[in-house]
Symmetry: C2
Amino acid sequence: MTDPDLSRRIRDAGGRVTTARLAVLRCLADADEPLTPDEVLEHLARNSDHVPDRVTIYRAIDWLAVHGLVRRLATVGRAARYEPVEDREAHAHFQCRRCAQTRCLPAPTPPLPPLPPGYAAERIELVIHGLCAACRAGDTP
Amino acid sequence: MTDPDLSRRIRDAGGRVTTARLAVLRCLADADEPLTPDEVLEHLARNSDHVPDRVTIYRAIDWLAVHGLVRRLATVGRAARYEPVEDREAHAHFQCRRCAQTRCLPAPTPPLPPLPPGYAAERIELVIHGLCAACRAGDTP
DNA sequence: GTTAAAAATGCAATAAAATGGCAAAAAGGA
DNA sequence: TCCTTTTTGCCATTTTATTGCATTTTTAAC
């Protein structure tokens, strides 16, 4: 997705197109796995000249999440992870219990189970826990 | 599950049966939804005379998790949530995006999607995101 | 292009959740 | 009961995230 496209998405969501928002969205869109705010910061520190403050990253991600351009995932690790909301959708996430790596897996969304009365479902997430290839190759289970 | 049963599970896992471990396991087993370490502490503070230190709770939960008596869930909120590992298994979790309440839902475990080579799946978790009845009843979406 | 209002950012301080080190206390077998 | 090992409590520290406020940037109007 090109920068003008991303800018447009931000403007359509009713916000100002700022360097930070664009850079964060760009970063998440380019990454092939969900990132933590700190990972986003690292990426920007490596690939941009002007690196936004950590707080700005948090606020940009939060704004993007509230406006539906980005999604916060359920994670087992300590830090939150975010991925861009795109069309490809319908995928699951694998989480390594050793290194906390999180990656996307192609998988159909399972059917929605019945909810208690009054509850409203908005999204369904499938998390596969286990060991990634690298961690399984290394010793200690 | 009775206390002797829980003690037995701890001893069988190869650890000492301590007040803290027993109390934490008891607390998680009695709760009808997954709890955070702080919630466990609150429960114990209300229902016991000797309240273990917060750090002890963390360590007890961790020990129970490492030894398979308790399970850490994937959460969207900041704090980790744990549930006891029992037989009833095969259930999903609903997470309210407003109040962060997490509750168990009866739901079949979906089929395991194909993993990249070298990856090993150990558990599959289904998280339903949405609004609980209470939060939906209250105003602002 | 200026300019002014509104929105976003940077910085410092603070909060929340979790972890590490170490001496004191408790478990469990002899 | 005594001894060894494991666990606990307390304090300090780390990691992750949030808040307040002055300054800067964005954007729309001129």
